[in-house]
Amino acid sequence: MPSRSAVKQKRRKIALVYVGYVVAALIFFVPVLFMLWSAFRRNIDITGSIFDFTTPLTLSNFVNLFERFDFVYYIRNSFIIAGGSTLLGLILGVPAAYVVVRRKLAGLGFFTLLARMAPGVMFVVPLFVLSIAVGAPSNDALNFLLLIAAHLIITLPLCIWLLVPFFEEIPRSLEEAAMIDGCSVWQRFVQVVLPLVAPGLSVAITLSFIFSWNYFLFALALANADTMPLPVIAFNFIGQGAGDYGGLMAASTLISLPALILAIVAQRWLIRGLTGGAVK
């Protein structure tokens, strides 16, 4: 049985940790709360004191976004681009990750590292030239395709990275057993291997989606007025709605929503994804 002073010391330590939590939350979480709060305040109050917590809350900033700026449309665009690039990233990345593990390939790892280290700007100019060559600026369907392809630069390496450790956990003997039973490579892959990496697939889907949803640069340079996703329309807002901080904060809140939800439900996987698998 621990002595009384040891218990006391332990309690003191826990109390100190909570003090640290409060300080850290004040620094790192309060700006997020500030965004959420401002999204529900009237512009006249946002430009007033930040210490006045009695000002009324309103939905008008959001209503404005949807009625005057048709935000449903831009949310749809974001879904098309993030959804499309996630789906393609999976279709290409899942088999690739499997082969990387089974054949112990390091070469593809080099390419994905290249994609991770190269500045996004380097891809934007060639994609822009391609976009003009195929007439994508005036063709919405082509423009979406191009944006989805561009975002594949984010989602494909991410999918491979995330899935490799999951494939590594599957024992080889399991596949050999299926082989003896007369399964083809394809059958083995679909019927034996895939179900076993299902948890990894959900991780790859959610993270690819978020990273693609958040990505700014490619759409900034390549999207047209009809294909703009949320981050770009929010950026264009700065000039248009000068002084409309309520609208800007409501837009920021909408952009952040998927990430905020995920931070709560899938934090462990997020850490793995953000660190490229460096931390499991």
Binding site: L114, P126, L260
Partner: protein, 281 residues
């Protein structure tokens, strides 16, 4: 293996070809109208090296890189230690600390624009409340790089902390017990036992941040567009504006390749130092 071909082909199309095309652009002279007068050798690079703005952007990039990396690492160690201690509610707190890193950089930049607003911003209101004169956060050449750095430090210190916390939690306990037997106090234990053991995790975290910090773009482009008077014009922002605002794709390609080299050099130096360190141990 046929399964890997689709991914390989797409990677070559999307990653390798653009890099090769950028190299070609940097060695030729592409005009705004799309015409290209062909191979010009290293002329674009000569223009670049003679351009003071290039050297300014290198300086800005390195300033932000060093400042942010140092503060984020030191802050990350402190917060990471806090996050490694088991108390009730730790998981929830860890979730909160994840939020800055996964919030879209556009949203982060917009919130900080409001915080930094010269007249009605939260930052100046806070300063006023404790009796300090308002600061021109983004509008002055002297202050703007620091203000931009604060945003990055805010966004990524918790991320460093999460990696470091995971590292601390997986440390073996024997060396610490041995140190206690040898009479080491907690500070000595942390500095001479914990830190060296944490070294591999710490360098991975720093390497990840390094690659992103050298390519500093989103928050700068949204908050200042490189201004005022190029005070926050990082090499990445410069490479973008050269291509899309000044419409000089060949010169921009030279800038972008230099940025790529800078990333490789800094990341490579890092990896080399890391290898050297672990050999020495």
């Amino acid at each position: 293996m046929p399964l890997i071909w689709p991914a390989l082909i797409v990677t070559i199309l999307l990653v390798v070809l653009p890099v090769l095309y950028t190299i070609w652009l940097s060695l030729s002279d592409r005009k705004i109208d799309g015409s290209n007068s062909g191979f010009v050798g290293l002329a674009n690079f000569q223009t670049m090296f003679a351009e003071p703005e290039f050297w300014n952007s290198i300086r800005v990039t390195l300033f932000l890189f060093v400042l942010c990396l140092v503060v984020e690492t030191v802050g990350g160690l402190a917060l990471g230690y806090l996050l490694s201690i088991d108390v009730p509610g730790r998981a929830i707190f860890q979730g909160l600390m994840l939020i800055p890193a996964i919030t879209a950089s556009v949203a982060v930049a917009l919130v900080w624009l409001l915080i930094y607003d010269p007249t009605l911003g939260a930052a100046n209101q806070l300063l006023e409340a404790i009796g300090i004169d308002p600061v021109v956060w983004l509008g002055s050449r002297e202050m703007a790089p620091w203000s931009i750095a604060i945003v990055d430090i805010w966004q990524w210190t918790p991320f460093m902390a999460l990696i470091i916390a995971a590292g601390i939690r997986s440390l073996p306990s024997e060396p610490f017990e041995a140190a206690v037997i040898d009479g080491a106090g907690s500070i000595k234990k942390a500095l001479f036992v914990g830190l060296p053991l944490l070294y591999p995790v710490l360098t991975v975290a720093m390497l990840l941040r390094t690659v992103d910090l050298v390519r500093f773009f989103d928050t700068v482009y949204i908050m200042t567009q490189g201004g005022p008077v190029n005070a926050t014009n990082t090499l990445n922002v410069y490479g973008y504006t050269a291509a899309f605002i000044d419409q000089d794709p060949s010169y921009a390609a030279a800038l972008q390749l230099s940025l790529f080299f800078l990333v490789i050099i800094v990341a490579g130096a890092f990896t080399w130092l890391r290898g050297k360190q672990s050999n020495a141990e």
